[in-house]
Symmetry: C2
Subunit: 472 residues, 2 copies
C-alpha cells in the first residue's frame, strides 16, 4: 500500500478531486507509482486527507476512466501496467471536452468536489421517495411476470404512454393520444429519432444563448443551425421569418440558460410562423416546466397548436432523477406517420421493468406528491438565494428568477466573466459562465449562472457569503 | 358489459389473437360496440372463449395500441369515443409493417397466439434466475445509494465496462480495455452512434440474406448498401473487394439467418481486406455466439484483429432477456478518438440501476451459470428438433444447425415458400420464410426457419408432427 500524501489547497481555484486526480496521475506518469501497486482504498484516503469520500471516489473514477488504474473486485484499485495504459493522443483535449460539457446535465454536476457548487444542473435527490420506488420495483419483480423481460412496443409500453398523456394533459395542457408519444432513453436519443423523421439537411433556428447539448446534437446531424435574436418575450419572430428555417428549437416555459418565459403573444406569433409553410415545425423542449415561482403556470406551446406544428419533448430527469433515463416526445400526427414509416424498426430503448415502475409511480399519485414536495423545497431555496443576493443588487442585476433551478447574475459595470468565475473559485465557490451557452456572438458583459437545486440551505448562505467576499 | 361471442377457427391459418382482434375492431368500426362501452376483462373473455389469457391480452394490446379501446386503471377496457379514435391513413400498412418485422427480435415473437410458433426470435425465459435478479435489485436499492440516481458516464459505468471487457476476453477472446466499450440501450441505438462516428455517405457491404433490422437501420442512415455473395465459408472476399465498400457488416460466429459459421481462412481474408485501406472497417455483430453445438468455439473476429479494424457488437438480449436493453460496442482506438470528439455529449441510454444490476449479475458468476444452464437446455431442444426432423430428410435439407436458436429447412424439390408457410399455418404451426431476410435477389427454392428457443419439448414434438401432416 502506497502511503499517499497530497498537499491539498482550498485556495487554488482547483477542485479537491482534481488535485487528487492530478497528483496520482503525475505519480504514475513519473513511475513513482508502479504497475500493479495497490492504491489506498477511497475510504482510507478520504480519512487520511480529511476530505469527503465522494471526492476521492471521483478522482479515482477519473483515473479509472482514463485507464491509469483498474478496479479489481474485492481487492481494490491497482495501477495499470504500462502496456494496458491506453494513451489517448487527444487525452488532454478529452478531459477538456468533458469538463467543457456545459449545458444542463454535466458529468461534474452535483459532486461535492468543490466547497460550494452552484451548478445549474444540480437537483435535490434527498427528497426522492426511495422507499416508494423500491417497493414498486419489488412488487413488480415479485409479480414474476416474465412478460416484463420480453420485447416491448417500439414506442414504449402503452400503459406508460397512456399515463404520460394524462399527466401532460393535466399539468401542461398537452393535447395528445398515447399513440403520439414516443418513449426513449433520454432526449439525446429522441432527437436522434427525430433526425430520422425530419430527414437530412434541415435548417434549424435556435436562440442564442441556448441549450448547448442540443446545439451539439444538431451539429452532429450536420443540420444547418441559424441563430435568432431574442428579446424579453423570447425569440424575435420577425427575425426568425427572415431565416427560411424549417424548424425552430425553443424552450418557451423556461429558456435555458436565460430563464426567460416566453410571452403568450410571442407564442402565438411563433405558431403563425410555423403555420406559414407546410413542413415547418417547432420543437418545444419543456425540460423543467414543473418548477415555477411567480405568476400562473403558462400551458405548453403544444396546447395551443391546432395544426400539428409542435413537437413536444419532456423528460423525467429533472423531476425524478437524471439516472432514470426516460424522456418522451409527442409527435404531431403527420410526423407520426413518418415515424411509423421510417423508424418502426427501432426498438424501444427503455427496459420494460423501468417503464412499469415509472408508470406505477406516476399513475398511483407518487409523482404528483413528489413534485409538490420538490416545488415547495425549490421555492424555499430560491427565495433564500434571492434574499442572500440582496447585497449584490447595487452591482449586479438578477434575471431568470421566475422558474427553474437557477438564476442569472449580470454585472452592471463591465467585468469579465472569467474574472468573476476565477475569484469565486479562489473563495471555494463554483459558478458557471453564461458564455458557455452562446453559440453565436457572445456579449461582453459578465454574466454567471447560479444553480441552487442541489445545495442545502446552509450551503446557499455560506456560498453566497464567500461570493460576497470575492466580488463585492 | 358486452357479451362477446367470437367464432374462433383453429384451421384458418389466422392466429387466435388476430381473430379476436379483428372481430372486436370490426364491431367497433360498424358501431356495434359503442364508445364508452366496457369490454369483458381479459380473464373472463379468455375463460369464455377457452383460450389462453395471453391470447386475449395480445388482442387487446393491439386494439389499445391502435386506439380502438382504452384502459382505465382499476376499471377495465373501454371502447374509445370516435373523436379520440385516431385514424391512421396508413393503418393497414402499419400493421403490415409490424407483422413484417422479421429478423431477430420481433413484436410477435414468443407469444402464445399460435399453437406452435417456431419463431427464430423466441428465447426460453423459464430458465432465467428471476430470484437472483430480484435479490440483486433489492440489495442495490437497499444500499440507498443516491449516486445511482445521478447522471453516469456517457459510455456507461466503468465497473460494468470492466466486467464486460473481462467477460468478452474470457469467452470470446475479445481484446479491449474498458475504455473502448460503449454501453447502450440496444444495438439499434449503438448503430445510430456508430453513424455519428463513421459519418455520412458510407458504402457498406452486407451479406444476402442478412439481418433485416440492421439493413433497415443502414437504410435510414442513407448509407449506400451493397450486397456481397456468400458461399459456405461466408462472405466471398474477392467479390467484396470489387465493391469499393468502406465497411462490411458480418456475423461470423453465426450468420443470421443462414446459421453459417465463417471459416478461419475467410476471417483472415476479411481482415486482409480491411487492412487494405486506411479508413476501412468490419462490423462484427456477435449477437448469439453463446450457443454453439458442434466443434470448438471459434473466437471472435475481433480477437485476431491486430490493426483496429473490427467494431465488435454484442447484446444481452439473447443471453439474458430481450427487455434488458443492454448492448455494447467495442471500438478500435482510432474510432474511439472520433467517438470522444463527435459523440461525447450523448449521454448513456441505460439507467445506472440497470447497469449495476447487470454488473453484479455477471461479476458474481450468475451470468456464467445461467449461460451454462441455457446452453444445455438449448442443446437438448436442438437435438430433439433434429431428431423430430428425420422424416423430413428425404424432401428437405437441413442447414445452420451448428449454433444458435434456429435452423433452416430447404425444400429439395421446388416448393414455394408461401405454400410451405400457408399449409403449416393451416395445421396450427407458424414457421418463418427465409425470403424475408433477403435484401437483394431472392432464390426460388422454398426455405423456412425453425426457431426452437421458446418452445417446450412437447411443443417441438407436437409442432413437428403437425408439420409432417402439412408438408410430407
Amino acid at each position: 500500500m502506497y502511503d499517499m500524501t497530497i498537499q491539498l489547497r482550498t485556495d487554488s481555484g482547483k477542485c479537491l478531486y482534481e488535485q487528487i486526480y492530478e497528483h496520482i496521475r503525475q505519480e504514475i506518469r513519473e513511475g513513482k507509482l508502479l504497475a500493479g501497486e495497490r492504491l489506498p482504498s477511497t475510504r482510507s484516503l478520504a480519512e487520511y486527507l480529511q476530505v469527503a469520500r465522494s471526492t476521492v471516489d471521483y478522482a479515482y473514477d477519473q483515473l479509472l476512466s482514463e485507464g491509469y488504474i483498474e478496479a479489481r473486485p474485492y481487492r481494490g484499485y491497482f495501477v495499470c501496467p504500462l502496456e494496458n495504459l491506453f494513451q489517448l493522443e487527444t487525452e488532454d483535449e478529452y478531459f477538456l471536452n468533458i469538463s467543457d460539457l456545459e449545458g444542463r446535465p454535466s458529468l461534474l454536476s452535483g459532486r461535492e468536489d468543490c466547497l460550494y457548487d452552484f451548478s445549474p444542473n444540480g437537483i435535490d435527490m434527498t427528497g426522492f421517495p426511495f422507499g416508494v420506488w423500491k417497493r414498486i420495483t419489488k412488487n413488480i419483480l415479485n409479480d414474476g411476470n416474465s412478460e416484463l423481460f420480453a420485447q416491448g412496443e417500439p414506442q414504449g409500453d402503452y400503459d406508460l404512454r397512456l399515463t404520460i398523456s394524462r399527466y401532460l394533459h393535466a399539468s401542461r395542457g398537452v393535447n395528445c393520444t398515447p399513440e403520439q408519444i414516443i418513449v426513449g432513453a433520454g432526449n439525446d436519443y429522441l432527437l436522434m429519432l427525430l433526425e430520422k423523421i425530419l430527414g437530412r439537411h434541415v435548417r434549424i433556428a435556435m436562440e442564442n444563448p441556448t441549450y448547448k447539448r442540443a446545439y451539439h446534437i444538431f451539429q452532429s446531424f450536420a443540420y444547418e443551425i441559424v441563430t435568432v435574436d431574442t428579446d424579453k418575450h423570447g425569440m424575435i419572430v420577425s427575425k426568425l421569418a427572415q431565416q427560411n428555417a424549417r424548424a425552430a428549437y425553443v424552450m418557451p416555459s423556461h429558456q435555458f440558460p436565460t430563464g426567460a418565459v416566453m410571452s403568450i403573444g410571442r407564442r402565438a406569433e411563433l405558431l403563425r410562423w410555423a403555420n406559414g409553410a407546410k413542413d415547418r415545425y417547432l420543437i418545444e423542449d419543456d425540460y423543467d416546466s414543473e418548477f415555477r415561482y411567480r405568476g400562473k403556470p403558462i400551458p405548453s406551446l403544444q396546447s395551443t397548436d391546432k395544426n400539428g406544428k409542435v413537437i413536444y419533448m419532456g423528460t423525467f430527469s429533472k423531476a425524478i432523477a437524471p439516472a432514470i433515463r426516460v424522456s418522451y416526445m409527442v409527435l404531431p400526427k403527420v410526423l407520426l406517420e413518418r415515424y411509423f414509416r421510417e423508424c418502426y424498426f427501432y426498438s424501444c430503448t427503455v427496459s420494460r421493468i423501468d417503464q412499469r415502475i415509472l408508470n406505477e409511480f406516476i399513475r398511483d399519485g407518487y409523482f404528483e406528491r413528489h413534485l409538490n414536495k420538490m416545488r415547495k423545497r425549490y421555492r424555499a431555496k430560491h427565495d433564500l438565494l434571492l434574499e442572500c443576493l440582496q447585497p449584490f443588487e447595487r452591482q449586479f442585476a438578477i434575471s431568470g428568477e421566475d422558474a427553474g433551478l437557477h438564476l442569472l447574475l449580470h454585472a452592471k459595470q463591465p467585468r469579465a466573466e472569467e474574472e468573476l468565475i476565477g475569484s469565486a473559485a479562489e473563495h471555494g465557490v463554483r459558478v458557471y459562465g453564461l458564455s458557455d451557452s452562446f453559440v453565436a456572438e457572445t456579449p461582453e458583459r459578465g454574466t454567471v449562472l447560479l444553480g441552487f437545486g442541489a445545495l442545502r440551505d446552509e450551503e446557499i448562505v455560506e456560498g453566497i457569503g464567500h461570493l460576497k467576499d470575492a466580488w463585492l
